[in-house]
């Protein structure tokens, strides 16, 4: 008789609500990793999430924690307000690239510069997902989107913004890395990074952000499998994976 090994269990940090994400989208993976980390660190009870505007606007439906829903791009400011008056709680934002890197660039830069003890999960899928696949600041040069129909022309539409590299220059940042969700190995590495980003906050070691390269099969017009290949072949060369800032105190964190 074959023995059965339990290899997957729905994290208790999740509610029973099925997600609205498209098939093949890696938002679901990112949500799982966050939920698993909240559970493993035993911090579900004291966590307050801040949802963005974008595809993950309904994130508050899926996590079994207190949640607020911010105006477009303002999640880091709202999170600042919560964390400053509730410093013993764990506060995280979950934001896409339209939210964080476009309309909310001011809020994220200054939250990072102030060294707010927040954890930011940043989903980079190179487009505005919710509104139907428009160009984002992270859209690759030449990439066709519904608002760069001839392909992003850097002469007139500018260059992609490398958020993790940019924020890593700020002294208030404790932990700032980029990971990818395109294969199991990278998903494991992403989870470890998310864990460290929450540990950073739990220890009061400053601002922590994990940028996650993500897929958007629907708006990219690709199968889920081809989307994963696109991340590997096109996104990673433009957005190299790596640790851009890990402060000395955080390097010592053992998990």
């Amino acid at each position: 008789m074959a023995t059965e090994n339990l290899v997957y269990e729905r994290p208790v940090a999740f509610t029973d609500t099925p997600t609205h994400y498209c098939p093949g989208c890696t938002h679901g993976v990112a949500h799982h990793l966050v939920a698993e980390v909240l559970q493993e660190m035993n911090i579900i009870e004291k966590t307050i999430g801040v949802a963005p505007v974008g595809c993950s606007v309904f994130a508050y439906n899926y996590f079994d924690t207190d949640f607020v829903e911010a105006p477009h791009g303002r999640a880091p400011a709202m999170a600042t307000g919560i964390k400053r008056v509730m410093p013993d709680r764990i506060v995280f934002t979950y934001q896409g690239d339209g939210d964080l890197a476009s309309i909310g660039m001011g809020e994220i830069v200054h939250a990072a510069a102030r060294g707010e003890n927040l954890t930011v999960i940043f989903i980079n899928n190179a487009n505005f997902g919710m509104t139907g696949g428009q160009m984002a600041p992270t859209t690759l040069p030449g990439m066709k989107t519904s608002s760069s129909q001839n392909g992003r022309d850097v002469e007139t539409q500018g260059y992609p913004i490398k958020v993790a590299e940019m924020l890593s220059t700020l002294d208030g940042v404790g932990y700032c890395v980029r990971r990818s969700l395109h294969d199991p190995k990278n998903i494991r590495l992403a989870k470890k990074a998310i864990r460290i980003a929450f540990e950073t906050q739990a220890r009061g070691l400053g601002f922590a952000m994990v940028e996650l390269l993500s897929t958007c099969p629907t708006n990219w017009g690709m199968t889920p499998v081809n989307s994963l290949k696109f991340v590997e072949e096109h996104m990673i060369p433009a957005y190299p994976l790596g640790d851009f800032k890990v402060s000395e105190a955080i390097k010592g964190i053992k998990i």
Partner: protein, 370 residues
């Protein structure tokens, strides 16, 4: 407590602290900056939260976040900064969390200037942000009144889970006057059943948002806000009456314009003219009923404002054309002198007034000399 000499902006800051302010988020802008400056020292001294935000957008969203946890939170700004806050104000209204805001108004539109004005009446009272909502708006005319109203603001905001905004012109913010501070109140966090302050093991999770994706649900929310507003209108209208008992002409003015008008009223009374003053304290909810009652027994109204006649329209709605309503305003940061209002009173006693011409048009013609 004894009277001390207080500058309006600093008095507001200290009065807020004494009312239990736990967190302040702001951004420098003249003529409001002393609120921010004062609290940058005072709040840390008491172990409370102070953040100078990167912008008014940042500040209002920090207020929004802190408000969701149920603490007493405030921001302050001046006209252009308030415009930037309108997005967050709409969200706060849509999420039904209490917050106190102060607008020390200056000349506009645009960058305008830093002189005292009342040009943001419509933005504050009739909603500058998107969607259907109404904030409670209080208009102090002195440093003492600003102190008293800031404490009231926190109570009203919490009672109705609404925004309570103080609008004062630069005069009240910058002026120094003898005023009495209330005693320091200890911080008491309300035990709210809506605050997202972490489950902490003893309750179900809570979500605060302004999203109602189903239009029927959004409409229910709109109705809830409107019904709450009706309660606010029934219970929270505040105004001050001066010499109204036998008045034949009633001046209506808020804030500094109302205070300047009072000087003119006193002079006119000394000259035997039966004129009185109604000074709205709550410009929202607006004191419609008292104006409606007065319209049944007085000969005429004169609305004085430091804008182009924004409250004028609310007065006209209450008067319903029963008696003439005249208007006198100064704009762009110009503060009227009592003499100017006195000469308007004299004009009204001497000339035949008509309800046919719009008072703003008539006033514009009289302003042709400028």
């Amino acid at each position: 407590m004894a009277k001390e000499l207080w500058k309006g902006n600093e008095a507001i800051a200290e009065a807020a602290v004494r009312a239990g302010l736990e967190a302040y988020f702001g951004y420098p802008i003249t003529p409001q900056t002393e609120v921010l400056e004062y609290l940058s020292r005072r709040m840390p001294e008491l172990g409370r939260t102070f953040v100078q935000a990167e912008s008014e957008l940042g500040a209002i969203n920090m207020v929004y976040g802190a408000a969701c946890t149920g603490v007493r939170v405030m921001s302050s700004s001046s006209s252009p900064g308030m415009s930037l806050m309108m997005e967050g104000i709409s969200y706060i209204a849509g999420t039904e969390v209490p917050a106190v805001l102060v607008n020390v108004m200056r000349g506009g539109p645009g960058l305008g200037n830093i002189a005292p004005a009342q040009g943001d009446y419509n933005q504050a009272v009739h909603g500058g942000g998107h969607g259907d909502y109404q904030p409670i708006v209080l208009a102090p005319a002195s440093v003492q009144e600003a102190i008293d109203l800031i404490a009231l603001s926190f109570d009203l905001a919490e009672k109705y889970r609404a925004i309570c905004m103080l609008i004062l012109d630069g005069c009240v913010g910058q002026m120094m006057e003898p005023a009495e501070m209330p005693e320091m109140k200890p911080i008491q966090r309300g035990n709210w059943d809506w605050a997202t302050d972490g489950k902490m093991g003893n309750r179900k999770r809570r979500v605060l948002s302004s999203i109602y994706l189903d239009p029927i649900e959004e409409e229910k929310m709109n109705l809830r806000l409107l019904n709450r507003w009706r309660t606010i209108e029934e219970n929270e209208v505040r105004y001050k009456e001066y010499f109204l008992d036998d008045a034949e002409i009633v001046i209506v003015g808020f804030g500094t314009a109302g205070r300047v008008a009072l000087s003119a009223v006193r002079e006119a009374r000394a000259a035997g003219i039966k004129v009185g003053l109604l000074r709205p304290i709550t410009v929202s909810p607006f004191p419609h009923k008292i104006i409606e009652q007065l319209a049944g027994r007085v000969n005429a109204f004169l609305v004085t404002e430091m804008n182009s006649g924004q409250m004028l329209e609310d007065v006209r709605l209450a008067v319903k054309g029963r008696v003439p309503v005249e208007f006198y305003g100064r704009m762009g940061g110009v503060v009227p002198f009592p003499d100017e209002i006195l000469s308007e009173i004299h004009r009204m006693t001497k000339s035949k007034l008509s309800a046919d011409i719009h008072p703003r048009d008539a006033w514009l013609d009289r302003m042709a000399h400028i």
